[in-house]
Each structure stands twice: as C-alpha cells, then as structure tokens.
C-alpha cells in the first residue's frame, strides 16, 4: 500500500484538497491531478523554467517542489494570470510584441517575469535579461521577450497611473 498524505492548498484562488504520494512533484500534481496543463515540464533538472509557478508570491520551479510542500500554500499558475476576457499585462505584452514562438516555455517565462515586475516595476533591458537567467527559450532569441516585458511594465504603469487618477478624482469629490 502506497503511503499518501492529505494536502489542502489554494490554486489560482480556488481551494483544492487532495491525497497524494509524498514523492509527487508539484508540477505533476498541477498538470495531472488538477488538469492545469499550462505549467509545462521541459528539463527535469530545474534549468529550463517551463514549470515556473508562484508559491505564496515567490517564483519557484514546480518540478523541484513536492506537492506536499505546497500544503497550505497559495499557488498561481499561468491559468491564474488572466484569461481571454481579461489578459494580464504580461500576457498582453507577450502577444503584442511577439514574445513567443512555440509557446512551450512561455507560461513559465511569463510567471517568472511577473515576479520581476513585482520587485522592479521599471526594469532596464539588462535587468530583464538578467532576470531571465532561470529560464530557457530555444525559439525567440529572447529579444522580443525583453520587448514584451518592457511593454507589460508600461501597461502596468499606465494602469496604476489611471487608478491613481481615479482615486485622486474620487478624493476631490
């Protein structure tokens, strides 16, 4: 009889419970138990970053996290960023600036860059390239990924700007 453990976690804001083998990787748990197949697995050694998700707001590679380690945590995957009705600025940026080709690494790259923009809302090209260290894209040559992230930063700044405008207009009333 295989030993299993009960876990409870929030994935993209939805509460999930499951009984899993302790050795089950978070990446496999997300993909196979929860059918969230946007998170991909490309290398098994935590180099390519295709499996990148957010765990309690931190960027992690879900192929080196056990599902049991995510017990009680908040996980955000690409499916939690935005959908076609309302794309996340990073998704908008990748679409507008041709930041993807085959698209296999893209979910992980986007999550990783959401992490960057949280810490550094206005990164330089060099800072973006440095922050891409944890991911491998074999198709794009990274240049349009850099453009995509810059575009996303601009969209976020504009959104914050208009939020402030609305807030201050509200305050004026």
């Amino acid at each position: 009889m295989t030993f299993t453990k009960k876990i409870a976690l929030s994935v993209n804001g939805v509460q999930k419970q499951a009984e899993v083998e302790p050795r089950l990787l978070l990446a496999h748990f997300l993909r196979e138990d929860l059918n969230l197949t946007g998170t991909h697995i490309g290398c098994d050694t935590s180099q390519c970053g295709a499996c990148t998700v957010m765990l309690n707001g931190e960027v992690v590679k879900s192929c080196t996290v056990l599902a049991v380690q995510a017990d009680g945590a908040h996980v955000t995957t690409v499916e939690g960023l935005g959908d076609m009705e309302q794309l996340h600025p990073i998704q908008q940026g990748f679409w507008e600036k041709h930041g993807l080709q085959c698209g296999f690494c893209t979910p992980g790259v986007m999550i990783s860059m959401v992490g960057l923009l949280k810490e550094n809302p206005d990164p330089s090209e060099e800072e973006i390239r440095d922050a891409l260290e944890g991911v491998i894209c074999r198709c794009t040559g990274y240049q349009f990924i850099v453009s995509a992230v810059q575009h996303a930063a601009k969209l976020i700044a504009e959104a914050n700007q208009s939020k402030e405008t609305i807030t201050s207009a509200g305050e004026g009333r």
Binding site: E21, R23, L24, H28, R31, E32, N35, L36, T37, G38, T39, H40, I41, G42, C43, D44, T45, Q47, C48, A50, T77, V78, E79, L81, G82, D83, M84, L87, Q91, F94, W95, E96, H98, L100, Q101, C102, G103, F104, C105, T106, P107, M110, E125, E126, I128, R129, D130, L132, E133, I136, C137, R138, C139, T140, G141, Y142, Q143, F144, I145, V146
Partner: protein
C-alpha cells in the same frame, strides 16, 4: 481591406498559448491511459547476455514489459529514408528495442508500461540486464582506423557511406598562386527544443484504428513510416501533431519509441503515453553536425578564387537516422561554394558509424556547415594575401546580373543581390569606423574583433523530381485546400506542420489579402493526417516557400470558381468581372456586385449555379516547385575578447537577410533572432561531449550550455527583398538564416580579435577556457 502581406500582424496562435490553453502531447489524458518508460542502455557498446523482467512484472501497477525479442515479427525497425544514388552506402536501421547488442548509450533495451509514470520508473530499476561491455569508438576519424572496433560487424572500417560530387580541380590547384588549407571541426550539437519528444497512442479494437499523437514536424511522413513498421493501413493509422514545442529538425526523424508505444497500445488495448525526459532527449533524440571538414581554397594573389576542394568526415552515430545520410552529403555538399563565383569544386564525404547517438537534421542541416567552412576559408585566404576580408568578398561575390546562377556544384541559385546585403550591413555596422576603433583598442592591448559572413543557403524543399534524383525517399511538394464555409469563413488545410513559426497567421495573411476578408475569419488546419490528405511537413524553411505557395494557388482557384458563380448571378461574363477588396463587381457598373460572403453562400446552397459548375467552394493545390529557393545575407559580428580570461563579449550583431518577399516582418524578425541565437550558441557554448568509452558527459542542461538571455546584445536585424521567381509568393525561407550566418560571423570575429596572438583557428565552441589556453600557449612560446 488593408494590405496584409508585408505587414506585422499579431499571431492568431498566441491567445491559447499565453493563457495556458495550448494542447501539447503531454497534455493529452485519456480514460484508462497507461504510462510507458524506456529502459536505456548504460553502455555505448555491449552485448546483451540476458534480460530478466520478472521482478518488474511483479510490481503492482505494471501492465507489461516489452523487450526486443517480444517485438520480433510485430514491429519493424524504423528505416532510414535517404539513399544516395552513386554513393557506397551501407544502411543500418536503428533496432526497435536492442536484441543482442547495444551500440550507443541511451539505446532502448526495454519498455515498461504501468499505471502511472512513477510506477513505470520504479519498474525500470527492477529489470535486470546482463551486459558484456565491448570497446567503443566515439570519434569518426578514430573509427576509420584499421584497429577500431566495429560498430556493425559487417561494415568494414565503420565506413557507412562514401559520396563524391563536383569536378576534380587538380589542375586548378596545381596552377594556383595561392592555396589555403584548413581543417575545421563542426562540433556535435543537440537540438533541444524545450518540449521533448513524446507520444500518446490509442487503439480501437473494434475498428482496428490506431491514433498516435506525437511531437512531429511531419505527421504524414510519420504515418507513412509507422504504418509500414506496425503493418497497418494508412487509413487506419492517424497521426496527430498537436501543439508542438519546437523541433529544430529533431522532430522530423522517425523514431522507434513512437512506433513501439503504438504497438503497446494496440497490444494492451489501452491508451499508452510516453513523454521523453530531458536526459533521454540528450541521449536518444538525434544529434547533429559532428563533421570534420578539411577545406582547400585555390586562387590568385589578386584575390580571385579558382577552385575549392572539400573533404567531410561525418559522424553518423551508431545507426543511420531517417535523413542522416543526406545532411553531410547533399545538404552540405551542394552549398560548399557559398555566395562566390568559384569555377570548380569537389566534395568527398565519408559517413562513419560510431558508438554515439545517431545524427540527423538540426536547424539548417548541412547548410550551416557548408557556410561555415567557406566563410572561414575565405577569411583565412584574405589573411594569407593581406587583403581586407570585406574587399575579398566583394571581389568574389556572385554579381546580381548573373542570376539565375549555376554553381560549380550543379545547383541553380534562383535570384540574388549579395552585394546589396553586404553593403547595407557594412553601412549599418559602420565598418570603416569599426576598423579604426579596433586599431585604437589594439594599441591599448584590447582585443576587438570584427567578423563577417556572406552566406547563401538552400531552402524550400523542393522539386520532387530532384528529391527522387538524390535518393530522398519521399516527395517534397506541398498540399493545400482552401475551403469556404457557407458563412464565408474559411478553413485552410496545409500539409506543412508548423511548430512555433506562426504559420496560422502568415497563411491567413495571404488568404485574407487575396479574398479581401478578415484574417479573423480564417483558420489553419494542420498536423492531422485525418484532416489533411497528404503533405511533407515543415523543415528546411519550406513552410512558406512551398506550403504557402500551395495556399496561394488554392486561394486563386477559389477566386476563379467564385467568379464564375458571381458572373452568372450578375448576368455577365467572367471577363467583365472585377474582384477587389472582397467584392465581385461588373466593370464600369460597380453597383452590380456580389460580396465574397454572398458567393460563399450561393456556392454551398447551389440554388442557382451556372452550367458545369459543381456545388461548394474549394480550391486545392498540390504545388511542386520548379526549384529550391536560396535565401542569403550578410552578418557582421563585433566581439571583445578579454586577454586575461578568454571570455568573449558580444558587442554588436548586425544581420541583413534577404528571404525574398516578407509576409510578416515581425514574425520574420523573430525567426532571425532565434536562428542567430542558436548559431551563436554553436559558435560559443554548445557542444555534445563524449567520454572515450562513449558516455555522454554533456547530458543535461546543467552541463550543456544553452544560450541565455543575458549572453546577447540587441540583434540588429534588417531585410532586403529579392523575390524568388520559383513560387507565386516570391518567398524564400527565414528559419535557418541565423543558424547559417551566425557561426562563421562569430568565429571570424573572435579570430580577428586574436590576430595579435597569431592564432588562426580554434574549434567551436569557443569557450573562455579554449581561448585562454590558446593565448597562454602563444604567450609561453613567444
């Protein structure tokens, strides 16, 4: 309708991919699905004495274990598919699952099928195999030596093939004022798409139908081959390439694993999935390049080239892969003279078996190697006669008035304007100023290097008659059906099988512009052998030049038929009708008109069709181009080498490419970036390294350096357009320009930087250690 061809358009492919709704092979989950895992040989060369799977079979959750003997008479080995006429070729197909011997580390020995991937992995550890280790041979030159162990007992000297082409230029070499010789090693590289290979197979015992979803660049080729090896009609075998996460040539080849998974599903009557791990990808998916190229260029002191002689000793690995024989011969050999007027040339290729993973196509397949050797030898020639490498190139480039140009290797370059791409690149880079800066930096002990490559490559495969003549086991025409629904929306079927190129968008641009409808009303259907009757897939930058051409012609046929219907409804003749912006209108009476959408409905409802016109509105084309296409360009790379550490900093990269007519400049530029980064990857970092006994030392991303974002400056990409005359779009192909142009540009730049040390050549990859050692060696011997 605004002009679409030639404009940047956001990709239709992207919404699903950016929202996590892509559908890749590993995303497929079927009821009752089992999971397969392959046991692979840890030895490069060994006799299999015994395989005992009994413990594995006892493990709860294991459904089956297959060994080579279990498959005899049930699954044939996948065959090689390129038999060169006139060559002395000794094909050895990869064994399905090794029976008595293993010939490279990573060769499949057994397949476990279990309830999930964890159990399958557990079971692999329980299979006991007795091996008798044999001496291995890894390097192709060592394998040719008389004392070398034999990879296949009946292949003498491990010589798998000997191929010769061109004319022997002995006289030209005897009379030459200058002869420059160089031995170059184009190292072994690994394609490494981020999605590894994989297959999911499902069998219906009632109908006898087998479906295999797999990571394929050419599902119809895979159907043709797997139908044969599994002995099933093509009508009963469906191959589907869902979203495919890159291929770069590695997903062209047919492999045993996919076929064996198909067999297991049929045998167990349950769906079976196998997804390659990255470690397996490194060991078992085809590698590429690995060619020792000895090149000699003859000419005059004034810089005129007179003849070229090339010997290529290519490592084919342990077995002949699908298109393995064609890469170092046809793909390489026909392009050795590059962009220059060299009146006579000869190529000899030795293809050698070794105890390594089989080699096959990787982005460019043979053409990057050809460009590399000619561009390196041209630089060395310039150095020998004391001429600027730009001036030497300008002197020998094929002039634009010479096109179509027949080369010494017997191919006809379709169209070109090589001088313009070079001039433009020099202009953008500010070449004279760069040379001055270099001089100034040298005075300060700094090592700036400027490298140039003016490449041309062969793309758009490519007349089927030629394919037959060169022994390619298949055709290379392309198929498209443009189907107009009653709503006026359009389905475009293509036999190409895109995997990241953005084809759904570029083809929609072509169709939408021609039909005068929105690209949102067009869907591309590809990658499924049930939907598309036949096709030859995506590789060799043939997607747009051949597949796109078929789409264009099929669309014209739709318009032709629609015009007949519109003319009938408007009570006029086809000749009196104009079609523009999606409206059929009578010449001189624009108020008498029908929209494309109205005609779509009329054609499908068929209430009032002219005599002799059948219902429905479809156009079909099976386009077989009259020639290949030959994209070309000039790349300039500027580097700085650290004299203390040997580290290379890429300072600038300028690419001016001529890919014929550009359909979507944004997508084309993306292809250029990706190609250049892969080309630079080969020049500076990437390389498969084997130990002497055939263990792959660079077997994960931790020890095989993949290009990362911070390694690169902004790539300055520009296009010049010289349309190709061989297809209606004038397109030439862009996917491989970067991997072809970049390695010589980068290596020429580094060698230019190292000139103060008197270093003429170093093998790729130019790692800091290698560069530092070379400099240190000179310092010590100075």
């Amino acid at each position: 309708m605004a002009k679409l061809i030639g404009t940047p358009q956001k990709r239709k492919e992207d919404p699903k991919l950016i929202t996590g709704n892509g559908h890749f092979t590993d995303d497929i989950k079927l009821p009752g699905m089992l999971y397969g895992a392959f046991l692979r040989s840890p030895h490069a060369h060994a006799r299999i004495l015994k395989i005992d799977a009994s413990k594995a079979l006892e493990l709860p959750g294991v459904a089956a274990v297959y060994t080579g003997n279990d498959l005899v008479g049930k699954v044939k080995a996948v065959p090689a598919m390129w038999f060169l006429p006139g060559a002395d070729l000794k094909p050895k197909d990869r064994s399905t699952l090794a029976v008595d011997k293993t010939r490279y580390a990573g060769e499949c020995v057994a397949l476990v099928v279990a309830e999930n991937r964890y159990i399958a992995r557990d079971a692999l550890d329980l299979i006991e195999v007795d091996y008798e280790d044999l001496q291995a041979v890894v390097h192709q030159e060592a394998a040719l030596l008389p004392e070398a162990p034999l990879v296949h007992d009946d292949v003498e000297n491990n010589l798998a093939l000997l191929w010769k082409a061109g004319e022997i230029p002995d006289e030209e070499f005897q009379n030459a004022e200058v002869v420059v010789r160089q031995r170059l090693y184009n190292q072994r590289v690994i394609p490494n798409p981020i999605e590894t290979r994989g297959a999911v197979a499902q069998y219906n015992p009632g109908s006898g139908e087998l479906t295999i979803w797999c990571t394929s660049q050419n599902p119809h080729i895979h159907r043709m081959v797997y139908a044969d090896v599994l002995d099933i009609s093509e009508s009963k075998l469906q191959i589907v390439a869902p979203d495919v996460g890159g291929g770069f040539g590695s997903k062209i080849a047919t492999y045993n694993e996919e076929a064996v998974i198909g067999h297991a599903a049929r045998d167990l009557k349950r769906p079976v999935k196998w997804i390659e791990e990255r470690k397996e990808h490194f060991m078992a998916t085809t590698h590429a390049r690995d060619e020792v190229i000895e090149v000699e260029l003859a000419g005059k002191r004034d810089g005129t080239f007179t003849a070229l002689r090339v010997k290529n000793t290519a490592n084919l690995g342990a077995y002949l892969s699908t298109f393995g024989a064609g890469c170092p011969t046809i793909d390489f050999g026909l392009m050795v003279t590059g962009a220059y007027t060299i009146p006579k040339a000869e190529v000899v290729t030795y293809g050698v078996y070794t105890n390594t993973t089989p080699t096959d196509a990787y982005r460019g397949a043979g053409k990057p190697e050809a460009a590399f050797q000619i561009e390196r030898i041209v630089d060395l020639f310039a150095q020998e006669i004391g001429m600027d490498p730009v001036e030497l190139r300008q002197k020998n480039l094929i002039p634009k008035e010479a096109f179509p140009y027949s080369t010494a290797m017997g191919v006809s370059y379709d169209s070109g304007n090589y001088q313009d791409t070079l001039d433009r690149a020099l202009d953008i880079a500010g070449y004279p100023a760069l040379r001055k800066e270099q001089e100034k930096m040298r005075e300060q002990g700094k090592l700036l290097g400027i490298g140039i490559s003016t490449y041309v490559e062969l793309c758009g495969f490519g007349p089927s008659k030629v394919a037959g003549a060169i022994g390619f086991q298949g055709g290379v025409w392309e198929n498209s059906t443009v189907r107009v629904h009653p709503s006026g929306k359009v389905a475009v079927f293509t036999g190409t099988s895109p995997h990241g190129q953005g084809t759904a968008t570029t083809f929609a641009q072509v169709v939408a512009e021609k039909l005068g409808i929105s690209i949102d009303d067009i869907e591309l259907i590809s990658g499924d052998t049930r939907s598309v009757s036949m096709g030859w897939g995506t590789y060799g930058s043939r997607n747009t030049a051949v597949g796109g051409a078929a789409v264009s012609i099929a669309t014209d046929r739709v318009i032709e038929k629609a015009k007949k219907i519109a003319a009938h409804e408007l009570e006029t003749s086809v000749e009196e009708l104009e079609f523009s912006e999606g409206i059929f209108a009578v010449k001189g009476a624009p108020e008498r008109k029908r929209s494309f959408r109205e005609i779509a409905k009329s054609a499908n409802f068929a209430w009032n069709l002219p005599d002799g016109v059948e219902p429905s509105l479809e156009g079909q084309s099976f386009f077989d181009p009259p020639n290949f296409v030959y994209p070309f360009g000039a790349h300039i790379c500027v580097v700085e080498v650290d004299p203390q550490t040997g580290e290379i900093e890429l300072k600038r990269y300028v690419a001016v490419d001529d890919i014929g007519r550009v359909i979507n400049p944004m997508l084309a530029e993306g292809q250029v970036h990706g190609g250049i980064v892969q080309g630079i990857g080969q020049a500076l970092w990437e390389g498969a390294v084997y130990s002497e006994n055939g263990q792959l030392l660079s077997g994960t991303f931790m020890d095989y350096t993949m290009p990362k974002a911070r390694f690169f400056p902004t790539i300055e990409s520009h296009f010049i357009e010289t349309p190709s005359p061989v297809n209606p779009l004038g397109a030439k192909g862009v996917g491989e320009t970067g991997t072809t142009g970049a390695p010589p540009a980068v290596v020429n730049a580094v060698m230019d930087a190292l000139r103060p040390f008197g270093i003429k050549d170093l093998d790729m990859p130019l790692t800091p250690e290698k560069v530092w050692r070379a400099m240190q060696n000179r310092r010590e011997n100075a």
